[in-house]
């Protein structure tokens, strides 16, 4: 089930992921650009401004009306951080023609609409309209501020900022409120031009059938753009282990404390290069069979969740939990004790086998979800021939206990971030 890839221009790759089981078609344009303080906010706004209006649908209620008529076609817009790069995604998901009441040509209309949105936005004299720019700025600012309201997300974001201060990965994926405030219709238009000119591009199609003429239309659209300085997606710097573990504490008026531990690892890279690290993280704090779930949550009742997050390409991991602040020291000790057990290889065969089975089982379910397949291929930008879920599943079977233990040995605590409720005034 390897996808078919087609070259659609300099640094533009089309990928048809054929899958007969879906009654919808998903098409996504993925633009990869370097993560930089000076461009992050403008870039991050692009997927959103592009999916709210276009030259043909200048008013977003007209656009939304069109989408509703297309049997509730969904537009996809997101901005993600992948290593030291920004991924801007713009896409559409539409039901297949044969499921419409009168066999309408929905897919063709959806392709045309998507190309309109990306290549023919609503702009005049080299600027996006003030109204559209300001609307999306306001929504972006509210989104950034909204992260503050979700303390689990906020705490994790703060840890990453602290750990990667001064490097690309420390930059917030949507920029800061201050950075968004400086965006103008002109700067946004320039960012759009730059995205089309120098972004590394992948166009994914997940469907039972390749929409007729789509890749040809995309290829033609890019041929008129004069692509230059195309992003190569090769640079990714990793953190060295900390000489001294740093602790950052913040106080807020909240009920539950949030604790996030950041660790460096000696291993980093693509899926193929980090198999044992990823398995180690699963045993350590992945599923309910993991060391952290069974010891920190179930045995010690310290928290409701205690889970590992791994960023393979950067070779670092986090452990986060929500706790009663008086248990903080106890929780840190319990977590680091479990890491020690991993390093010593004292995890059980059952835990090891469970992690392998669970990983393989969930890889199989990728084929049942269009958005997961799209995500799978859009995240694997650092290798020319990314493995399919099936291939990765075969590779996982070959990892040994010793490999896992070796991966664990390279892990060191780097930074502790603690968000605590304010002290009650005495």
């Amino acid at each position: 089930m390897l996808p078919e890839t087609v070259n659609l221009g300099e640094g533009v790759l089309g990928r048809f992921i054929k899958n007969d089981r879906f009654n919808t078609t998903l098409i996504s344009f993925n633009f990869y650009l370097p993560l930089r303080e000076e461009t992050v906010a403008n870039n991050a706004l692009l997927p959103f401004v592009l999916t709210t209006c276009s030259d043909k649908y200048p008013d977003f209620s007209k656009l939304n009306y069109k989408l509703t008529r297309l049997y509730g076609a969904n537009l996809i817009s997101s901005c993600e951080k992948i290593g030291d790069y920004q991924l801007l995604k713009v896409g559409i998901s539409v039901i297949n023609d044969k499921y419409t009441i009168d066999e309408e040509d929905l897919t063709a209309q959806a392709c045309e609409l998507l190309c309109d949105l990306i290549f023919r936005p609503k702009a005049e004299n080299g600027e996006f309209a003030l109204e559209d720019t300001e609307r999306e700025k306001r929504k972006a600012i509210e989104h950034i501020k909204g992260e503050f309201s979700e303390k689990r997300i906020y705490a994790k974001k703060r840890l990453i900022e602290e750990m990667f201060k001064g490097s690309a990965f420390g930059i917030s994926k949507c920029g800061t409120v201050e950075q968004v405030e400086t965006v103008t219709g002109k700067s946004l238009y320039e960012a759009w031009q730059n995205m089309l000119k120098s972004g590394f591009v992948r166009v994914n199609v997940v469907s039972s059938e390749m929409p007729k003429g789509l890749f040809e239309a995309v290829s033609e659209a890019f041929s008129g753009i004069g692509r230059e300085n195309v992003t190569d997606c090769k640079e990714n710097t990793c953190l060295a282990p900390a000489e001294n573990v740093r602790t950052v504490t913040e106080n807020m008026d909240i009920t539950q404390g949030k604790l996030v531990l950041g660790f460096t690892s000696k291993m980093s890279g693509t899926d193929r290069e980090t198999l044992s690290l990823s398995l180690m993280c699963d045993i350590f704090g992945g599923g309910p069979y993991s060391r952290l779930f069974n010891n920190v949550r179930e045995k010690l009742s310290l928290c409701y969740y205690c889970a590992v997050g791994l960023v393979k390409i950067k070779g670092f991991l986090t452990v986060d939990c929500g706790i009663d602040p008086k248990n903080e020291e106890k929780a840190i000790k319990a977590i680091t004790d479990q890491l020690f057990i991993m390093k010593k290889g004292m995890f059980t065969d059952f835990e090891f086998e469970s992690a392998i089975k669970s990983t393989k089982d969930s890889l199989k379910t990728y084929y049942d979800s269009q958005s997961m397949l799209d995500m799978w291929y859009s995240l694997k930008v650092f290798e020319e021939n990314p493995p399919s879920p099936e291939e990765l599943s075969e590779l996982i079977s070959k990892v040994t206990r010793e490999d896992v233990c070796e991966a664990a040995k390279g892990i060191e605590l780097h930074t502790v971030y603690s968000l605590k409720p304010c002290e009650v005034e005495k």
């Binding site: 009654n23 008013d59 989104h143 909204g146 539950q256 393989k360």
Partner: protein
Amino acid sequence: MIKKQYFEGPFGEGYVKAVHPTGLEIYIMEKPNFDSAHAVFGTKYGSIDTVFSKDGGEEISVPEGIAHFLEHKLFESEEGDAFTRFAATGASANAYTSFDRTCYLFTCGDNFYENLKILLDFVQHPYFTQETVEKEQGIIGQEIGMYDDNAGWRVMFNMLKNMYSEHPVRIDIAGTVESIAQIDASLLYRCYETFYNPSNMFICIAGNVDADKILKQIEEEVIYYPPVEISRKEFIENESVANTYVEQELSVAIPAFCYGYKQKITTPERSLKTKVCMSLLLELICGEASPLYARLVREGLINDEFGSEYFCGRGYATMLFEGESTDPKRVAEEIDAEINRIRENGIDKKLFSAVKCGMYGDAVRRMGSVVGSAMSLVESAVSGQELYEEIKLLKSVTAESVVKRLVSFSRENSVLSVIVPKEEK
């Protein structure tokens, strides 16, 4: 032994509905093109079932949050917990409790029948001791603490608390630290024996499975208990609300709001036609293609967090609108005004036909995934309404029958709940 019926759907698929002699209902949608399967074993028992009697016995009142507590505890057995057993097969298992149901579920790529065996086994074998109950009080206490800081959660429950004076939809699903402290093993068994009787339960499965094989397995593994008669207390609510405005301070950056219109109801359950009409109505009032949505976005009053829902269950029904806004009162006023406008001017026919088209597409989409299909079957099992009826109704429902529902909206019986940013000291 098992009674079977087949329902054919409009998108080339269908499902089997079977009833086990115990009264347990089974819904299976075979999806041979898929690789995975999703199974749910559920009971019609949720946070609102706080006062009940079994087989005509004495009515009892149980602590808030006990259904959710029971859900946590059921994963344990004398031999270890169910998660460990699922770990051996590789399945991903979970459970949830809502207002009117508790569901245990798994998704898997391989070993489906082995996983089904585990699911059937652990849900049918409770094991509670005082010691394990106490341990869980610590974990759930942290879960409650997490919800206490969650603006989206708080804003909704503050609204419900002020809208309903009697009905237990007003209480937090997980209860409070104080209420769960009153839970003990014997109380858990009492709830279990009432609500986990097969006659009150359902199994819904979708995916790459064989329906006949599943039915045979269920026949072999479901324990025969005589059906029980459950009598749930009916809470009589008047139309009015305690307060039309409620506010709480939390550590958030932008105010969160939840605006609901309490609806007058005369029967405990809503018909499918009512639900379909209300969903269409919501789309017409504030869906993304509606003039109100455009206006609210243009004026900077809402963002992508905005949404609406016809929130209903046994004994309650509310039309609610939620999101983030720098001016929640303005948003509520605009919604009121739009409802009045539609009442006076009628429905835009062009928009009505587009919105129907969109909802039809959503129904197709749900059937396109294993989890979506299984979840639709769960809805069908809990509501007792046949799955494909919704699509048939969507085609036939008229603008007139939708607009007439607007009568049930009254500003006096609405609650605006707002979470405002707390000033950090």
